[in-house]
Amino acid sequence: MQLEFSPEEIAFQQEVRTFIAENYPENLRSVQDEGHDLSKEDFLSWHRILAKKGWIAPAWPVEYGGTGWTATQRFIWSEELAAADCVGTMPFGLSMVGPVIYTFGTPEQKARFLPGILSGDDWWCQGYSEPGAGSDLASLRTKAVRDGDDYVVNGQKTWTTMAQYADWGFFLVRTDSDAKAQEGISFLLIDMKTPGVTVRPIITLGGEHEVNEVWLEDVRVPVENRVYEENKGWTCAKFLLAHERTGIAAVARSKRGVEKIKAIARTEQDGDRPLIANPFFKRKISELEIDLTALEFTELRSLAGEASGKGPGPESSLLKIKGSEIQQRITELALEAVGHYGAPYFRGFGEGDNEHPIGPDYAHRAAPTYFNTRKTTIYGGSNEIQRNIIAKMVLGI
């Protein structure tokens, strides 16, 4: 065991740092700094740069377009991305359906879908949750009935993030109503332009349009777009959720978040002292930082396990629980740090509205971000469900 990077790893870190500095889009930087909502093009501009470089999917096997980096290199990569405050790439293709397709898909499916995920030409969304199937995902009722070479799909999905931009969606559908809940589910890839697919916005507490309802009415899906066997979709679903959970720890991004809070606390005044000199506030920052270190080294241990051949297992639930709680505490502290200026409601710039928003730049999004980040302990399998998983799968009780 050793903590220090090797000379090769340091050289790699430098290479990555230089690449980001030289290639990160300027206009994207200013959009982020002013606290605007990011458009589809904003996300894609950085995605395409990484795709061109061949660095878009470091976690994928090399044969499918991965980089062949070691776990340490991937760690360095995510650290550098976060340190430079780069926008994240959308996980739905790269971290979710991509791995499902290269693990369970047919050669035709791999050839058809993986290139579009890598290039960014296909934007993906996730059709899992339903109004009646949240934590109890396996109770989902969206139905797919075989009709010749097609399935005919009917039902409603919800919390579908960024579906308003999506070209494709991966959906869990019920193909056998008589089987036990988990056993009658199939995993379908659906072209979002198919007749019968309707996407309706859900507006969240900060005023954002991030999530949607997706209605499916007699949507015809070719059988060839089913991944893995009929009625075995739950295997793909579980595999995907475990993959989703590792990234969900968001350590590198949280580190950056803690640094931002320190910067705010040095700027903000608390009466006669800077906020950073307030002993209560200072203690909360160190508690956060220490908890984040504990999470970081738990993740590193888990990654080391993965590198030695163990896939992400139930212990990734620990990363999800602690990671999501830390993300929430960061937003909580950021809101606390801005004091009175958490209250003004910043709705972005309207057309032709060039007036500078109220309060310091770092305050504009503090409250909406706090409200919105309540989602992290709910999505990707709520933290209650994660605790059930640990109890059952790790503790065996």
């Binding site: 934590s135 109890d136 005023g207 209250a343 989602k375 999505y379 709520s382």
Partner: protein
């Protein structure tokens, strides 16, 4: 000792509760917020003229019902139950509180207008650098003949876009956070030289950045003695802090009951989620925090007229506890609802937003623990 309410107090609560049930459902509130002025002025008029509610906390000589802190608290609690966006806190508790404290001609002139619903007051006290320190003021009031000239910037002044009057803290002397030299003024909101930038707040109110640019105000705008206004400001802010805690009691009670109701009807894994012990215990924790918020608010309300040091310790104890409760109850209400709790579609998220803003209004939990320690834990 007697913790029961009088018949009049019960009647105030019932009347108000019935009125708000008829006028302040979730959709109506959304419509008020979305309207041009961000409120429905008819509600305020009705509270004043039809219900006589704005006089509950004023003396009979001024045309009120002869009540005080308890009436403010129960009205604020009822307003909290519908997350009302009425400027009661600013106008009656803060403005009215200051006027009751100083008395005299200005009180005789303005209080009946408050009771009649003709006056709305906004409290311009906070400054960007001052955070929760009431004495950290850079706005100045320079003596000019018989009057004063105001210069400075007040931040996040709730209800300012609706106000007929501004209650303004300013320095007539001293500097930094010095206690001496702080004065309090009640001025016409339309005085020349007052510049406002109005905006909505995340919890549904309207607020402003208020800039004073050589604003000439008359000498009789001064409340109390020149340069000795800090104790008065501390007193009305303590009264307002307890009023906000009372509002929090209403807000958190609704967060809790709404969560309970949801958990009973939401089915997962073949049963209502209210059957899961982990959620039961969470809802019990929420319940205990709601109850203790009520206890602390009662305690602090009854101690508002004690000598300053005792009053301050009681108010800080109350606010520290209620701020923590607002966070616990709000966060757990959302978590128990799941995704639907984060949408604009359900009232619960809007209660959560108000609860979040209450956490730091007139000082965060940390601020009040620190003040409590300063007053009660000598080295």
């Amino acid at each position: 000792m007697d913790f029961s309410y009088t018949e009049t107090q019960d009647m105030i609560r019932e009347t108000l509760s019935r009125f708000l049930a008829d006028t302040y459902d979730f959709d109506s509130r959304n419509k008020m917020i979305a309207s041009d002025s961000g409120r429905d002025p008819g509600i305020w008029k009705a509270l004043a003229q039809d219900l006589g509610m704005l006089g509950a906390a004023f003396s009979e000589e001024h045309g009120g019902l002869g009540g005080g802190h308890l009436e403010n608290a129960l009205i604020m609690e009822e307003l909290g139950k519908v997350i009302a966006i009425e400027p009661y806190l600013q106008t009656v508790v803060l403005g009215g509180g200051a006027l009751k404290a100083v008395g005299g001609a200005i009180a005789d002139a303005v209080i009946p207008e408050i009771i009649g619903g003709n006056v709305i007051i906004a409290f311009a006290y906070a400054e960007p650098q001052g955070r929760y320190n009431l004495a950290n003021i850079r706005t100045t009031a320079k003596k000019d003949g018989a009057g004063y000239v105001l210069n400075g910037h007040k931040g996040v002044v709730y209800a300012a876009p609706w106000a007929t009057h501004l209650l303004v803290s300013a320095r007539t002397g001293g500097s930094g956070s010095e206690a001496n030299g702080v004065s309090l003024f009640l001025i016409d909101a339309n005085t020349a030289g007052i510049v406002r930038r109005d905006y909505p707040t995340v919890d549904g109110f309207q607020a402003s950045e208020v800039y004073f640019e050589n604003v000439a105000i008359p000498g009789d705008a001064l409340l109390g003695d020149e340069g000795a206004g800090l104790p008065l400001i501390e007193r009305i802010v303590d009264e307002a802090t307890v009023a906000v805690c009372a509002e929090a009691c209403g807000v958190t009670a609704k967060l809790h009951s709404g969560t309970l109701e949801y958990a009973r009807q939401r089915n997962q894994f073949g049963q209502p989620i209210s059957r899961f012990q982990v959620l039961q215990h969470r809802m019990v924790d929420m319940f205990m925090d709601v109850e203790q918020s009520k206890s602390m608010t009662t305690m602090a309300t009854l101690k508002l007229d004690l000598p300053a040091a005792e009053r301050m310790a009681a108010v800080s104890a109350c606010k520290a506890k209620v701020s923590r409760a607002a966070k616990l109850v709000g966060q757990n209400a959302i978590q128990t609802h799941g995704g639907i709790g984060i949408t604009q579609e359900l009232a619960i998220g809007h209660f959560f937003k108000r609860a979040t803003m209450i956490e730091s209004q007139f000082g965060s939990a940390d601020h009040h623990y620190e003040r409590f320690e300063r007053l009660t834990l000598a080295d």
